[in-house]
Amino acid sequence: MSSDDDEEVWIPLREREEWKDVEPIPQDDGPNPVVPIAYTSQFREVMDYFRAVVARDERSARALNLTGEVIALNPGNYTVWHFRRLVLESIEGDLDKEMDFIENMAEDNAKNYQIWHHRRWLAEKRGPACMNAELEFTANILSEDGKNYHAWSHRQWVLEKLGGWEKELEFLVQMLQEDVYNNSVWNQRFFVITNSPAIGGLVAAKDSELKFCCDAIRFAPDNESAWRYLGGLFKDDKSALVRSPEVIRVCIEELAKDKISVHALNFLLDLLCRGYRPTADDCRLLDFPSEGLSPEQLARQVCERLEVADSMRRNYWAWRKSLLKKANS
């Protein structure tokens, strides 16, 4: 029985020859049901037969099909997925067919934990041979919803356990072309840079990543993810931020284009706190008075601009300002 019940007329289980020998077991909510609910008759019947099959622990092809019917009606029911796995193991079910089963279900249930876990379990059984299939599967899901958390987690697992690193950056570049603001893609990029055996880690990739990131910022300056990624590249050596001409340049350039760019102002604040001394030209460019301002006074002005430009977070910027008194200029 396929899970695609829309096209076929559903035949009640009690009218099916193959189930004649089974006595369905009704829901037992206990003597004083807290939640006595009336089920639709189809749901009730399928569940009654499922309970019967579980009670006798029947591991058979018809049991497998029945779990499919339960899942089609209620994919969130985690117990039926458990039993399906037990059945598959016992009857040594066709795992390729099982992949198809998941494929059919996944598109309409892309945020369902049980489906993803089942897929993982299947992939673990099938091993390295399914690497391409898994990458393709997640790519399909991501083409519908580029931020699907389960898809990205699964993809990370595939890369780590089965491989496929070589093409991942290219995939991510395509995804960013579709949506440069997709935070999941930026996270995945960091994941690849720091884990791929082909890349050699953050230190090795820093220069090329810096260029990539700054280009993205220039393309879309209001991109929270790109600015955070920029900061992330220096996570192990924050003091190096202020020694990076690229970082300073992109920050000043973007601020010159948009004097109240919160991201750029925030970065400038960080740079100033780490000892950056803007030139008189830069100050003019950014509409800051260039004469006689100490770095602390300049940082203070940046905070005050932020308190207005990002007024929702005025308390945060006020706190940043309060730190300036304590820091050495």
Binding site: Q27, V34, N77, Y78, N182, N187
Partner: protein
């Protein structure tokens, strides 16, 4: 706009009598639903409106020999429902009904070599389960049955370049996962692993123009993040970094003032999950008339005080 406690209480109580398909397909997570509903009622000081004895008798039927609890009668045990069961009994002050050693050993059995926790025998790993394990064992005063240090190490390994945490090492920072990791580290006395300024800033950046909170950059606001983000900020002692008034307004706008209940965002369908998290968020914002909720244990403060003294 005010919180229509009367309407929301009626909504939650009506869920017990619901006879529709939606309640049917949620029956496997009834234990979670009961925790959301009862805790919300308790925060609104209306818990007595539900028959305790019926809930407890049903709950105990979800207990399995292994020590874990299932989402409903006839389902398999899972760490998710085990926590909800313990939390419900904590609210009722009936934890003596638990075989604490059994529950503790069930949870201990789910800890992996690397310190992470599986959800059940099928092995799904997620930092959500790390929080659940630490929270549950802490409530049972049985943290000694697991390797807390390794649990902490695993959570720390899930810390990202932006200061946040994901479901697994390398997983994207997400407010729900952040709540789990921050709270777990708080329970373990290991908050020093967190860059509070960096994460606090990431968290306060979740607030969007409407005043609502999202869970990740460039995503839509959702009332449930009023809990995940806000409670994390409370634990990190940086809750003033968001605009509380605007958030309060957003949550109140998510109410269905006719039928009761709260939805994920204004004018969407309501459900008990968002009703709980909306009320919990308002409690953290000190909304008048609501009991205070503990940001780490997600239980009323008086319950937590009773357990820990």
């Amino acid at each position: 706009m005010e919180l229509r406690v009367d309407k929301h209480v009626e909504f939650i109580k009506s869920l017990e009598k619901k006879k529709d398909f939606d309640s049917m397909v949620m029956e496997h997570l009834r234990m979670n639903g009961a925790y959301w509903g009862l805790t919300a009622l308790d925060l609104m000081e209306c818990r007595e409106d539900v028959d305790d004895a019926k809930v407890i008798s049903w709950l105990l039927q979800c207990k399995h020999d292994c020590g874990g609890f299932s989402g409903n009668i006839g389902h398999d045990p899972h760490i998710l429902y085990t926590l909800s069961a313990v939390q419900i009994l904590a609210i009722y002050d009936r934890m003596e009904l638990l075989d604490s050693d059994k529950v503790a050993s069930y949870i201990a059995s789910l800890q992996q070599e690397d310190g992470s926790f599986a959800g059940d025998q099928w092995g799904e790993i997620d930092t959500r389960f790390s929080y659940i394990a630490l929270c549950c064992l802490s409530l049972l005063k049985r943290l000694d049955v697991i390797n807390v240090e390794k649990a902490v190490d695993y959570i720390a390994s899930c810390k990202n370049f932006d200061g946040g945490f994901g479901s697994i090492p390398g997983g994207e920072s997400h407010a729900g996962q952040i709540f789990c990791c921050v709270s777990a580290l708080a329970i373990a006395g290991a908050l020093h692993h967190i860059d509070k300024d960096l994460l606090g800033w990431w968290l306060c950046e979740r607030q969007v123009k409407s005043g609502g909170l999202n869970g990740r950059p460039e995503k839509q606001p959702d009332v449930c993040y009023s809990w995940w983000v806000l409670s994390s900020l409370v634990t990190l002692d940086r809750v003033d970094w968001i605009d509380k008034e605007k958030l309060k307004t957003f949550i109140l706008d998510c109410q269905d003032t006719e039928e009761g209940g709260i939805s994920d965002r204004p004018n969407d369908a309501v459900d008990v999950f968002h009703t709980f998290f909306g009320v919990a968020g308002l409690s953290l914002l000190d909304y008048p008339g609501l009991k205070r909720i503990d940001a780490v244990y997600a239980l009323p403060v008086d319950v937590v005080k009773r357990i820990f003294g």
